[in-house]
Symmetry: C2
Subunit: 364 residues, 2 copies
DNA sequence: TTGAAAGCGCTAACAC
DNA sequence: GTGTTAGCGCTTTCAA
């Protein structure tokens, strides 16, 4: 079965030039600088290319020569379906993708995840053909961060960890935002408050897979700064109101599935039957908690106040009282900082807004 | 401000070798073949590398030399947040990412979207440093497909278009699956049926942005084969039951936002007040339609039967009668076929299952 | 165990 | 408008 002009060896720019008896430069120009040669010659080059099955300049070779990979690497802590199951994370990626697209850059999802060992993951980071990295919401002790830094490429950290030397940072003031929300809850009259958080540390807590009362050790030294900040914000508000932050019931949800919030709410309720408010560090947690409360016949906000964090569409639709943060902008901004490649690390704090929905009211 | 050993010029493998007065081969081996040199020497190489700030072999140069980019390109028709807003698409990407990860390959989201012109998008495809492409659910006349093919790399098409020469294909038998579902609906006694579809063509329909009764022209020659197949499946079932497929009310939803299904349902109801069943070519459409019906006080399934397609988690949770397709597997399989790089195009049809939920019943 | 030589395919200076 | 030259940084025979 003769397959049309398939030379045994793939055509290259050089072979095309030889065929046409012109220089490689001219062929290169035909692709990259159309104005540098006559239209006829260019046409002749392009048509010969088609005839020879030359696919155009090899991207890798070009990258080597120009020192630009044309892509941005995205490092996420969690496996993809996991991290993207949170609409806020998805919005972030969408924003990042948008800015990459506008800059003509690809977005490389670096193959790091639970299927591979840390050394394999590091190898993937070291082997990524990119011009810079975006690190999304990693723990302070993320095992891949050192490899990213080793590359000596521009890095933008989103959300956490804060203070990575030489890297830009984009995020929000989690502590202040959460404090503002907590102040509102306290103002409503709540005194018995529980806080449902996402994981505080990379290491699994001892007590099994489900949500559990947060371990003091984990609370004291959380690897995920964002959670720590949000907890801190609630404590700040309590302290400012003359309440004892130590009385706050904190439940950590290590794995986040669609029902984690409900399970965490259950743990909180069991731990303290007098609770009147459930504050959550993520909307997905709050929404799930609300579902659970409804199933248990606990009315929101009449019997229980529930708040979230993020401002994902479903939360706003359902009237959740929450902090809205600009997730898409975060992604966009992160990309822009990378594409700027000014070299100077930038810290950018985006604004948030407390949205008073229909899920917070005075305690019964 | 003296920044630690920052040579004016970035260290390279060659400069490291020169510094150590050993050959480049040996340095290369220190990174790639630890067994090819003594542990001490390797240690010396690595520590000198650290001292000089050498980040390890340049990925791009290595790719040029080894002829392997170490990444797979993913071409999606829709902008990211758009295509990922469908959980089925997200599952697909998760599956693909998983197989890439297992193969140690990165996943490059190619910068193609509405922010860039077609020629810019094509340039991005031509410039992507990848070893192969996955094309996800593109239209028959997708403007980037030719560029993908031009690259002469392994290609796996997912869902549509079918029959791309030289490319593998992974998908399901949409027609048979939809037919089976329609047979069930007809069997229940439904005669007045509407079908709500996703977009049938890349070009916007004339009648404005919202869902509209499908244009005959678009129906006759849909650019999105999957929709065509699913429509065909319903028609097959009707014809087999002695019904006139021409009586089917078809509403096309060009843009899909979270409320599109409801809007489409409204169009269908207005067009035919006697409808007793709303079949949808996607769960997201069906779920939104159900919300709309509830808001209108139309009881499902008592007054209206609703069916979906895909089997996304929320649909199953809500008891939607639908076709479950293995979206994650689709992604995984697509990746595997690419990593196989056998060269021989493969066609792989995954199995589906009709799930009889709580949203289909006999007509009132 | 190490080294020398030979490119991978391309583009950027610079000359003509 | 076109060609010549010189690498980009690396790996891979092959030979020592």
């Amino acid at each position: 079965m003769p397959r049309s002009p398939t030379p045994r060896r793939r055509a290259t720019l050089a072979s095309l030039a030889a065929e046409l008896k012109i220089s490689r430069t001219t062929v290169s120009n035909a692709y990259n600088r159309p104005d540098q040669l006559s239209a006829e010659l260019r046409e002749r080059v392009l048509s010969t290319a088609k005839r020879l099955g030359y696919p155009g300049p090899d991207p890798v070779a070009r990258s080597l020569r120009t020192r630009r990979a044309g892509a941005v690497g995205l490092l996420t802590t969690e496996p993809l379906n996991y991290s993207f199951s949170d609409p806020a994370a998805l919005d972030f990626v969408a924003g990042l993708a948008e800015s990459c697209e506008a800059a003509g850059q690809g977005l490389l999802l670096v193959a790091v995840g639970p299927n591979r060992s840390v050394s394999e993951g590091s190898a993937a980071v070291l082997a990524a053909g990119v011009d810079g990295f975006v690190v999304y919401s990693a723990s302070d002790d993320d095992p891949y961060l050192p490899s990213v830094l080793q590359r000596q490429l521009p890095v933008v950290v989103v959300d956490q960890p804060k203070g990575v030397a030489g890297a830009s940072w984009v995020g929000i003031d989690d502590r202040a935002a959460m404090r503002a929300l907590a102040e509102y809850v306290i103002e409503l009259g709540h005194r018995e408050i529980a806080l449902l958080t996402m994981r505080l540390d990379r290491a699994r807590p001892p007590g099994g897979p489900g949500p559990a009362l947060a371990d003091t050790g984990r609370l004291r030294n959380p690897a995920f700064g964002v959670q720590a900040e949000r907890i801190g914000g609630v404590c700040d508000a309590m302290a400012a109101a003359g309440l004892d932050p130590g009385a706050l019931t904190i439940v950590e949800s290590y794995d986040h599935g669609p029902a984690s919030g409900g399970a965490a709410a259950e743990v909180a309720l069991r731990s303290n039957a007098n609770l009147t408010a459930l504050m959550c560090t993520a909307d997905v947690l709050a929404l799930s908690a609300m579902d659970h409360l409804r199933a248990r016949g606990i009315y929101v906000p009449g019997q229980m106040t529930v708040t979230g964090f993020d401002g994902v569409p479903e939360a706003l639709r359902r009237g959740l009282t929450t902090v809205v943060q600009p997730s898409v902008d975060k992604g966009r901004r992160a990309g822009e900082l990378l594409h700027l490649r000014s070299g100077v690390p930038v810290v950018e704090v985006l604004t948030t807004e407390v949205v008073r929905g229909r899920t917070a009211g005075p305690p019964a």
